[in-house]
């Protein structure tokens, strides 16, 4: 057990490394994927467009191990402020691990060891002086499965303010309304804020979780496959919402859905076997990928 924040128990997530299945005719691609699988170093292809943006989060040579098994290899990427960045890649490529490393949720797992650095607005995330609780207050997180608390809709939304000890009713109500409007849920629930959040539909619950995340005024909004458990209608609404959040919030999103990434994000990062393969503007990644592997993945030839 490490810092006070790390004293919460959590079940370690099992990470399964998939063997690369390449059905691509291109020989170079197979050999490169094979060399990655063999653990040889790999140079990330980062597009120039990234450099023009103001980075809110800088990841530098970030490595992560689950026990003896390395899950992230030398990740280096800057997350642009006020943009939506999507992390794509096949299962087990380390997208979620990277996302959860940003707000140090991986601390909850005992066997995790990290190396390298992350800077949030220039301040270290993993420094010895960092209070994890204060760090997490600067971010919001939306999980794969909607996880509203078993309390009223209102209390769910204002939870981040509650834990900061804010009791002023008018402040809470204002934040609640703004957040719910921000997550496009206000019109649906404004008459039943006192009702249990568990009575909402799956899509509504996920939007409620987004409202709760943005109520905390996060510097970065982390989304871990926010639509994977939703039907297409609800997914559409969440995607619209993410699109609308652009500008106001920095969003770092993990997704399995290529269309979703192309529809909602400004930048896309493609990861494979714990490496960041290619990172650039979404349009470039999807239309003019520099690397053959990226093109194969996007066109569905592997992964």
């Amino acid at each position: 057990m490490g810092t006070p924040a790390m004293t919460v128990k959590a079940v370690p997530r099992e990470i399964t490394m998939q063997a690369p299945v390449a059905r691509c005719a291109d020989q170079g691609s197979i050999s490169r994927l094979a060399s990655i699988a063999a653990g040889e170093p790999f140079e990330t292809d980062t597009h120039d467009a990234i450099g023009t943006e103001d980075a809110v989060l800088e990841v530098r040579d970030f490595k992560l191990w689950y026990g003896e098994k390395q899950a992230l290899f030398d990740i280096a990427m800057n997350i642009p402020r006020g943009r939506v960045t999507a992390l794509i890649g096949p299962s087990g490529c380390g997208k979620s691990t990277l996302l959860r490393s940003v707000n140090r949720m991986n601390d909850l797992i005992d066997s995790v060891r990290i190396d390298g650095q992350m800077l949030l607005s220039g301040e270290s995330v993993y420094g010895p002086e960092v209070d994890v609780i204060e760090l997490r207050k600067r971010m919001g997180m939306v999980f794969q499965k909607s996880n509203p608390f078993p309390m009223s809709i209102f209390e769910n939304v204002v939870y981040p303010l509650r834990i900061d000890g804010i009791r002023d009713r008018s402040v809470l109500e204002e934040v609640c309304e703004r957040s719910l409007r921000g997550s496009a849920l206000w019109e649906e629930v404004k008459d039943r804020l006192k009702d249990s959040a568990l009575g909402l539909s799956g899509g509504q619950q996920q939007r409620l979780c987004i409202a709760r995340a943005i109520a905390a005024e996060p510097e970065v909004l982390l989304m871990d496959e926010p639509c994977s458990a939703l039907d297409p209608m609800a997914t559409g609404r969440i995607e619209d919402l993410i699109h609308e959040l652009r500008g106001a919030y920095t969003v770092l999103m993990v997704t399995h859905n290529m269309q979703q990434a192309s529809r909602t994000s400004d930048y896309t990062a493609f990861m494979y076997l714990g490496r960041l393969i290619e990172y650039g503007a979404t349009e470039d990644i999807f239309l003019n990928p520099h690397l053959r592997e990226t093109a194969d993945y996007i066109t569905g030839r592997f992964g």
Binding site: A5, A10, K137, P150
Partner: protein, 865 residues
Amino acid sequence: MPDKSFTGVERRRTTRLSVRIIDRVARVLITVGGIGTILAVLMIMVFLIWVVVPLFTGGEIGEGATIPRSNAEAPLRMGVDEYRIMGFLLLRNGQIRVYRLDTGETIETLTPFADTPPSSAAMARSSPEVAFGFPDGSMVPGRMEFSSRFLDKAHVPAEFHDMKPGEPRRFESGMVQKTPEGQYRIQTFALTLEEDRTARVEPPSPIVRMDLTIKPTGPVYALLTEDSRILIREATEKRNLLTGRTRVTWSGDEIALNPPGDRPLPDRVLLSDGGRFVYLVWRDGFLARLGRVEGELQIVETVDLLRDDDAEITALSFITGKSTFLVGDSRGRVRAWFPVRPERSGTLDGTVLTNAHELLTEDGSVSPVTAFGPSSRARLVSVGYADGSVRLFHVTSGKLVAARPTALAQPVQTIVITPKEDGIVAVSRREIATFAVLAEHPDVSIVSLFGKVWYEGYPEPENVWQSTGGTDAFEPKLGLVPLIFGTVKATLYSMLFGLPIALLAAIFASEFLDPRAKSMVKPTIEIMASLPSVVLGFLAALVIAPFVEDIVPHCLTAFFTIPISLMLGAYVWQLLPRPFAIRMGRFRIFFMFLCFPIGLRAAAMLGPVIESALFAGDIRMWLDGQRGSAFGGFAFLLFPMVGVAMLILTTRGLDFKLIPMTSHLDRVPLAVFDLCRFLVTLLLTLILTALLAFILTRAGLDTRGAVFGTYSQRNALVVGFVMGFAIIPIIFTIAEDALSAVPDHLRSASLGAGATPWQTAIRIVVPTAMSGLFSAVMIGLGRAVGETMIVLMAAGNTPIMDWSIFSGFRTLSANLAVELPEAVRDSTHYRTLFLAALTLFAMTFVVNSVAEVVRARFRRKAVQL
């Protein structure tokens, strides 16, 4: 091949017969098991109810068997033998007629004083002693009794051989009955006069009234002579162990009666139990009580027994034990009086006669009371009225057990209850009537079991449980309230101690403890649950109780020093440099354990100081109320309350004013500031506590007699502590399971939002797990309510009603364990114990039902997770 299956195995499309059979059998077995369990519990309840119900079925006076009577004179005394086959009548002329109860045939007539009929007579109730007073001032004691023996088979007349068992037949001067075993039992009446013990009044004067009572040393007589003297004659019998001869020495007292207001001679003289008091009673209701003050016999109290002028006393009698006497008047009222010793009496000997009960007729009839026939075993009394009606009352409960409005045609002259309480014999001018009586549990009613009852000698009605006593005249006091109180007290104090520890430990284990440490801690605590409670009780009674007795102030102080040292430790931890604190975080639990010995050491040091400062140097004497002021007790009680109030006040109100001021501070100065704030709060708490305690003390209030009281070695503190050990593992295990079952994604959401683990635990995990936590508490409560061995061994088993943490108590369960093995089957005591069991059953049933309802409500809230 298309007809070949993909896996190569042809799957059967029908369920195998064996699977179906097993399915069916399992279903039947499970159904039988479930219904069987419910039935078993129901059967237990039905059985309990079945044993208890006869307690509440009323009594009955059966149809009378009447025999005519020739002598119209009211007999002085009447008696019936224990098999209800013969009786005697002592007439005014000294003649004794012994007769068959069924036919009225006279068996024999005794005329012991043919030439000089006695001028008065007295008879003990529960022993055969009798005494006669004569006009020449002499008094002859004697014995008058039925005796039974078995006839030698050889002496049994041939015609008796075909007797049916139980059928009475006359034989010589007695009655013979064949027992079910085939033996012949003869019942005879005998009067033996002990002429050699004759006492004389000097100077001689006719003895007009007299009474006698039996002390362990010998009989005591009270005599009233025609020349207005009261004489007490006490015979002390000493048996010479060598010769076997009994030597009697007489002692006595004598006063000339000078009753107030030119009264004639009293109409009745009564001598109470052990010759303590002589009651002189006049027909108009005036009573003078003679007692000894500083060895001198004198009138110590006068009472008007009737309180209205136009009524007069028509019947007067002691009931068993000769302490309570009944007064029947011409208006049909029966009142029971007995002496009590209240705190402020106003009489010379500190005793006051009190009218405790009034026995009312069921229909409000006002026919004069003419005769009392008290039972020699219990406080049951048969009452005869002038209109020929007969009633059966229980004096202590004031209950009318049974009534027979037209038992006799004429006014009842004399009435007796048979020795086995299975019949009543009533005599009028013309007839002698025998009634069968059914009164199995006359003393029990809902009120007597669950309400206050005015027992003999008690200054006021009280809830008492005292099922056995030293003497025959002892009345069982079967009030369940002290036992229910004891159960509630045991539960309350053990929950007060165990609940916070168990729940906080569960939260700590599930939310903060390293999973590896938890995997060791939890089974260890679960092993604690399997510790037999008899071992815990044994430890409590023989180790902890004597130990705590010596260090009461230290123990009390430890309740405060340990939490304060823990909190202080937490603040000091904040003072540590951050890198060090973060690095040492995993060892924090060991630092926490360090706080315990520090707290204990502080308690050991502060204990004597606090004892001398707050409890006048000796807490046991302070608790007795012998010295010291109420201040210390209030200080101790108020300190935690004020502390919690201050804590809430500072975190809710003050802190938000302070936060903006301190937000710019660095870590260490902030920690120093926090520490100072804690110390200031502590100081303020102390000051406020002292102030409040001072105000309450000045207001004249005292905690002694309420929460504190006289120290007894086996007390609620010890029981609470040890029973806490019994319930902590149960509550801990279930609560920990409930908390661990809360989905991790809720914790992640809360932590992701920036909540601390503590905030996550209190705001998210605990509310979500509420239904499980509630079950845990309720199961702990159920265990505490039903716990037997610990309270049996460590609670002192004194059925007193006192909230004091330093006094003992007796619980329903411990009482059952102690008394049920000794209770006579089907007796009132036995059935009342079953009622206690039923009460316990009902208590746990209610607790569990409420728990289930509340749990279901919580569950509905969390079910969608």
